[in-house]
Amino acid sequence: MTTFTPETDAQVIDAVRWAVAEGQPLEIVGQGSKRGLGRPVQAAHTLDLSRLSGVVSYEPEELVLVVRPGTPMLEVEALLGSQGQCLAFEAPDYAPLWGGQAGEGTVGGLVAAGLSGPRRLKAGAARDHVLGVTAVSGRAELFRAGGKVVKNVTGYDLPKLLTGSHGTLGVMTEIVLKALPAPPLTRTLVLAGIDAAAGVKAMADAMGSPAEVASAAWVPAELPFTGIPPRTPSVLLRLEGVDVSVDARLAGLTRLLEGRAATAVLDNDESAALWEELRDATPFAQRPDLVVWRLSVTPGEGAAVLERVRQAIPGTVGWLDWAGGLVWLGIPPGDAQAGLVRGALSGNGHATLFRAPDPVRAAVPVFQPQPKPLADLSARVKAQFDPAGVLNPGRMGG
């Protein structure tokens, strides 16, 4: 049981070389705040990147931030915020969801898990904002891919491949991120008293309008959210930008959706609090008993998928984000009910078992099983990066 805490690229290479030579797999961690995600890793040794930390360079005018993987997210966000910029995909903080403290987590963990928040709907996902990586493969070789500029098609887009690969393809030692201006102002249009099916339709109409809606969610009566009347299923539409623009779009959107439900507007501060709760799945952080699923589906199907699971598994609560395309489900403790949850997808999209006790996640495929030819291809990709299987073995299943 050894924990390596490298401070240089060379030390990461040494650790992986040792792991390969000795046939000893490594669990790769930053601060370990996302250990609750994925299949528990079977590795006796740990490669802890928390000391491979710090900002390498930040040039706001170039929209480019270069960081070491162990840099705490709090530090990254404070730095970007000091220049009026942000990670546009809206990094979620799920540490409390998995029983940790708010604010835990590193930028390497964020990228490795490929997680995006509510603004993903308009701004794209984490993978759309990773411009370059340097990583040590499971062959103990350091490689670079991508670049330090915002537009680049030179060579394969390995930064996208490594994003969301949960540390199974390489140990990232440097990450280049695209930084974008942070919105100066946010307001939220609330449609209070609308069921999920009508809510999805309203969100589709809003997204199809020129209002440039940044995020769109539907929340049920059963869960509390800031600014939402108690026990009232509601649609939430977030508008961001300069005040004249937000006001004009808000007026247009209100006209478009008039008559669907009672409307109200949340100001900047209430909006910020509300979207943070949606971003971090706070209602489920407050209900540690529930087993949590996160489903990516065709947006128009969101309400139907949610309803099918509610029918199949009594006691299920959930909300919709990404205009219906992201379904959050909390089901009563016990069995993960993977068959019923994945059955509700009707072959459209995929379901991730997002929070469950370790033994459950060891027994149930956490990530959606893939058709065989695709699973085989993914296995061949893994083997090309980590032929000895020493990097986070089992994390993504297989």
Binding site: L121, A125, R127, Y156, L158
Partner: protein
């Protein structure tokens, strides 16, 4: 240009190959020289090569059948969309099948509620926008060849366009693809949902230049058109000041819909060509377009004007009508033909640089002009640092083509030297293949090639493109393990 040595065994078995292809793709096999001639080159017309045979399948099953035959017989396959690519990615191989996707040209599904359109790869980029225009939607990436280029080619090249700083490139605007592997397997990635599952294979397929698979269906995201768009035309007496203005606009938190820069030779060529109304007494010209709700556009236009004047702009005009806005763009969009008019030939380069390096890069380009005796005009996607130097030459003058190639290589090496990359949107293809060593180290390229090995272990898909050297997958896969020879590594630990 050095290409892989044609395989004599394959050339000798052409008749057997043709017979199998004709059976698999009835009416879709072209084997006569005169009929194959149009396929001998793509948008990089300096290089030509007749293929072994051209196959034009009509559906995904036929694409899969062609791939299976190719794999079984060990024949190379070069996929081709509209053939508008500028880096030679669709240059045929003498011993390879040229697999044209032009017959897969149907729009399969328009889904406004989910803001998604599913098309076959041979549908043109512009046709997608046209198909959804009646409802106010469009497909955002707009490469300048959009009237002709196809979405399959856009995916293969990860195409951009003038609006991609704000709206992203192809990779950021596709939701799903179906593709055929060299084994003939038909795989689907993504769909109408936003996040793909497992490894982001769609991410690596996009921009893989036909080396990993053949795309047979694409689901793109469509957006509602911005309510208004207005442009500002700003002149400067130095490119430094223009560059400072671009940096200041971005630092002010403004991401324009488009932000283009032209240098003096490009301004003059464009103005001579179609009287766009550009000022001729400036060293650099910026076109900044703001789009969105009218109230926002008015606000941002005023901000951009203020920033430009604070950075010593010598002229500043705001478009007062849609007509005037389009006139501002007309000169920029005609920059290539305009340059084509003042020079018998030109070569278009495509590097990206950190914007702050622009003054150095432009100065060094002036040195190259003197050194090689050739003129260079520059158009620049200023917002994202994507530089398009146009090298003017006359192929009929002895030595000028070679000199232009040398200048081009020198410029791209310079882009890498200042922290940029070889290609921002045109792809590596054959054009920049032999410069890959300048941007990437051996281990970097080896890992990229290993990814290729996972998809195509025999290097049958578009070999000779992108990578300067082809290594056998078995060789790339070797790993030296120092079992027992490694001491416990000297790394801080607990």
């Amino acid at each position: 240009m050095r290409m892989p040595e044609p395989d004599a065994r394959v050339l000798a078995s052409r008749a057997a190959l043709l017979a199998r292809l004709r059976e698999a793709v009835p009416g879709g096999v072209i084997a006569e020289d005169s009929a194959m001639r149009p396929f001998e080159t793509d948008g990089l017309t300096a290089y030509r090569q007749m293929p072994l045979v051209v196959v034009l399948p009509s559906d995904t099953q036929q694409v899969a059948a062609v791939c299976r035959i190719a794999r079984e017989m060990g024949v190379k396959v070069v996929p081709r969309g509209a053939g508008t690519g500028l880096s030679g990615g669709a240059l045929p191989l003498a011993d390879g099948i040229l697999l044209g996707l032009s017959k897969l040209n149907r729009i399969l599904d328009i889904d406004y509620d989910n803001r998604a359109v599913t098309v076959q790869p041979g549908v043109t980029n512009l046709a997608i926008s046209q198909a959804v225009a009646s409802r106010g939607f469009y497909y955002a990436p707009d490469p300048s060849s959009q009237i002709a280029c196809t979405i399959g080619g856009n995916v293969a090249e990860n195409s951009g366009g003038v609006h991609c700083l704000k709206y992203g490139v192809t990779a950021n605007n596709i939701l799903g693809i179906e593709f055929v592997t060299i084994d003939g397997d038909i795989l689907r990635l993504g769909g109408k949902h936003l996040d793909s599952e497992g490894y982001d294979l769609m991410g690596v397929l996009t921009g893989s230049e036909g080396l990993l698979g053949v795309v047979t269906e694409v689901t793109v995201r469509i957006l509602q058109k911005p309510e208004t768009a207005r442009a500002v035309l700003v002149g400067f007496d130095s490119s430094e000041k223009a560059g400072d203005t671009v940096a200041a606009i971005i630092a002010a938190g403004i991401i324009p819909g488009g932000m283009e820069m032209m240098d003096k030779p490009a301004i003059h060529a464009a103005e001579d060509f179609l009287n766009a109304g550009y000022p001729l007494d400036v060293e650099a010209l910026l076109i900044v377009e703001l789009d969105g709700p009218a109230a926002e556009v008015d606000h941002l236009i005023a901000e951009v004007e203020r920033i430009a004047l604070a950075n010593d702009a010598v002229s500043c005009r705001v478009s007062q009508s849609e007509e005037e806005r389009l006139a501002f763009w007309a000169g920029r969009k005609a920059a290539f033909p305009a340059v084509g008019r003042i020079s018998p030939d030109y070569m278009c380069m495509d590097g990206t640089i950190p914007r702050k390096a622009l003054p150095i890069v432009l100065r060094r380009m002036q040195d190259f002009e003197k050194e090689y005796g050739l003129k260079i005009a520059n158009v620049f996607h200023a917002g994202d640092g994507n530089l398009h130097p146009l090298i003017l030459f006359d192929a009929n003058q002895e030595g000028q083509l070679e000199a232009a190639e040398k200048v081009g290589a020198a410029i791209l090496k310079l882009c890498v030297e200042v922290g940029g990359v070889l290609t921002g949107e045109h792809g590596v293809g054959i054009e920049k293949r032999d410069l890959m060593d300048d941007q990437f180290g051996e281990a970097d390229l080896a890992q990229q090639m290993r990814l290729k090995c996972a998809f195509d272990p025999d290097h049958l898909l578009n070999p000779g493109k992108v990578f300067p050297q082809l290594h056998r997958c078995a060789e790339l896969g070797k790993m030296v393990v120092h079992k027992g020879n490694l001491p416990f590594p000297d790394i801080p630990r607990f």
